[in-house]
Amino acid sequence: MVKKEIVSFKINGRSYEVIVTPNMTLYELLKEQLDLTGTKRSCGVGECGSCTVLVDGNPTLACSTLAIAVRDKEILTIEGLAKGAQLHPLQQAFVDEGAIQCGFCTPGMIMMAKALLDENPQPTRQEVREGLGGNLCRCTGYVKIIDAVLAAAETMRKGGSQ
């Protein structure tokens, strides 16, 4: 018998009450229950990083996380990054540096980069590469993605923020 529960979630600063079953992943919660389609699923086995969201600030693979296990946590997805029309410096840098081609890896890449910069605001190029080691991209060869993260770090250092 599948046990259904009404569970509260805090996503992008907003509260949601959702009927969940234990076998629902965080990805399924976001996409199917809440129509937050920004988080992408490319492999479903935790290998590609496309489904990266932040849970209490920690980079988390939504496809490999049970929704019910994160009910009391602060969840941040790509949709929660911009403040209205004002993009987060990472988003702006991805646009400006040409770091987006097909864009499917972009949300997960940006969320992981945010976690990286939150912990290490002035990373070296090698540290950015290591920080994004769990995010696959098939279009860009990563070159401009790394450029964008470094550019965003520079913008944020100079005080550009939201």
């Binding site: 599948v2 046990k3 079953t21 234990p22 076998n23 992943t25 479903g44 086995v45 935790g46 290998e47 990083g49 990266t52 920690n58 980079p59 988390t60 693979l61 496809c63 490999s64 996380t65 049970l66 019910i68 296990a69 992981m112 976690a115 990286l116 290591e130 920080g131 994004l132 080691g133 769990g134 696959l136």
Partner: protein, 287 residues
């Protein structure tokens, strides 16, 4: 994934009781990085899922002047990686974790969870073998301590009995004059090891007093190359002795051919990596 009954025990006692009740049908959820994808593919029997993330007192890394260091079942790989004590005193554990490329998997995943998957390709396991790690195992009837080399019975099979769970990893203080090293080979940086080797040598006056040689991904479990260790112990360390030990260690492997590599390559590389690990461990011991 298939539906299951879900538990969030608050204590280890509660957890072990549930595990005892359901035996093989129950799975522990710690990081989820291995469990959830396998459940999605119906690759594992999981009618009962025991989430141990809410048990307080399992997430710690505690250095101890006398004992060495202990870390709990919920200690995340990332926390262990950034711990200064680990980096300084147990560098090969740091190195083994650092070369895992997915930062997300390190924030989510736990070292104990990684060990309990019981795959011979676990770099964490290989390095812990060389460090002489012991595991604290808690069951309904109490606790027991198990050296890591006894923990693995076969491919994906540990010595855990019904109702038991690993609650702590204990690493002894490295004695002065110890050097360690860890190497592996991978297809891409994000792949699991096709072969790995770790060595720990205690050197006094150019003589090897104690050695541990661990090899991963070359047999059904990570194992200690005991023949090679026996050969090496008590010897004056020279390139010839290191070569012989490496050759012997390679002889102890039982590698397979799979989509990551071939048996022949693995056996040859076991020799190369063991030799390189011994050389580097010696350098670190005496440098």
């Amino acid at each position: 994934m298939k539906p299951f009954e879900y538990f969030e025990p608050r204590t280890v006692g509660e957890a072990t009781e549930i595990l005892s009740n359901y035996g093989e049908k129950a799975q522990i959820l710690s990081g989820g990085v291995d469990l959830i994808p396998r459940m999605q593919k119906s690759d594992i029997q999981a009618e009962y899922v025991v989430n141990i993330q809410k048990i307080s007192g399992l997430e710690y890394i505690e250095p101890d002047e006398k004992e060495g260091i202990t870390f709990g079942a919920m200690s995340r790989l990332r926390s262990i990686e950034v711990s200064k004590t680990i980096q300084n005193k147990y560098p090969i554990l740091y190195e083994a974790i650092h070369q895992i490329t997915s930062v997300q998997a390190k924030y989510m995943g736990t070292a104990v969870g990684n060990l309990c998957v019981a795959t011979p390709a676990s770099d964490v396991a290989t390095s812990l073998f060389a460090l002489g790690a012991q595991l604290k195992i808690t069951g309904l009837k109490g606790e027991r301590i198990e050296p890591i080399e006894k923990f693995y019975v076969d491919y994906r099979l540990t010595s855990l009995k019904r109702g038991e769970m690993v609650t702590e990893v204990v690493l002894p203080n490295p004695l002065p004059g110890t050097g360690t090293a860890f190497f592996n080979l991978v297809r891409t940086h994000a792949d699991i090891a096709k072969i790995s080797a770790a060595a720990a040598i205690l050197v006094q006056n150019g003589i090897c007093r104690e050695v541990r040689i661990a090899i991963g991904a070359a047999a059904p479990t990570v194992f200690r190359a005991v023949k090679a260790e026996t050969l090496f112990t008590g010897q004056k360390i020279t390139p010839e002795v290191m070569n012989e030990a490496a050759e012997t260690a390679a002889g102890e492997t039982k590698p397979i051919t799979d989509l990551r590599s071939t048996a022949r390559y693995r056996k040859e590389m076991a020799r190369v990596l063991v030799r390189r690990a011994l050389e580097k461990a010696l350098e670190r011991a005496t440098g």
